[in-house]
Symmetry: C2
Subunit: 123 residues, 2 copies
DNA sequence: GAGTTAGTTAGTCGTATGGCTAACAAACAA
DNA sequence: TTGTTTGTTAGCCATACGACTAACTAACTC
């Protein structure tokens, strides 16, 4: 539990950019320096650094500068927490489906009666 | 599988706003009209409608207008797909940890030798 | 000490975002 | 038919975002 707070606002905003998601994917493999991260992108260094800053203030990554090299690494807890938010919504959704299901069941039961009545009436 | 494509860019951007997340949470329970959605917020209707549009173009929700009422409902598949992206990253991360673990194991083994040597030397 | 590498800061630019008001349209209610 | 409700469009505004260049610092290398 590091000190940095990670609001969902900042985390989702950080993940809304393809470049930043690519950085996250890269850092899932292993930590990397800023210039290593910049290699795959046709992008000026300051621009990439800005992305790194966004990821850092979101809490998704942390960085440490040793000598002239800044090494970036993922903070998996924040990734996990974000995933959990989505999972929680799914839970609520699932509960709703359960309710729906029982409702449909009720409905079918009622309709059966109707059908029976109709049939009785018709025949 | 509905026709609407949902890019991660748009989905994460949509989820980066607290108002829109609240709407999503609300719609997890059950579908709702635009004015129902607007009730909890101190926000002009056009502003809220804009949020609804953002959610819709992201694919997270779908809407249907009947009479003068537009009913909004969640598209759970898109939520699930987003969650899966995060889960995938976690997988990569986990694999990395496995590699790390074996590396640390190797390291420890090597250090043991060192320690042994050192002890031999020292004593 | 001079050059190279790695990162950083400052400043610019165009576009996107999130909020607002005012005014309009269409559907329903009396 | 006259209101009321429910959305919708248009236009405004301030701020934030993502990109760039230019110039600078600090740390290694020779």
């Amino acid at each position: 539990m590091a000190n940095k707070q990670a609001s969902l606002d900042l985390v989702f905003a950080a993940l809304s950019d393809a470049t930043r998601r690519a950085i996250v994917m890269r850092l899932c493999r292993e930590p990397a320096s800023v210039s290593e991260l910049s290699k795959p992108f046709a992008m000026a260094m300051p621009t990439l650094l800005q992305h790194v800053r966004v990821l850092e203030t979101s809490g998704l990554i942390q960085t440490e500068k040793i000598g002239r090299v800044r090494t970036c690494s993922l903070r998996a807890e924040v990734m996990a927490a974000t995933e959990q938010w989505l999972a929680l919504q799914r839970t609520v959704w699932a509960q709703r489906l359960d309710r729906m299901e029982s409702y449909v069941y009720e409905l079918q039961a009622t309709e059966m009666k109707h059908v029976k009545r109709k049939r009785k009436g018709k025949q």
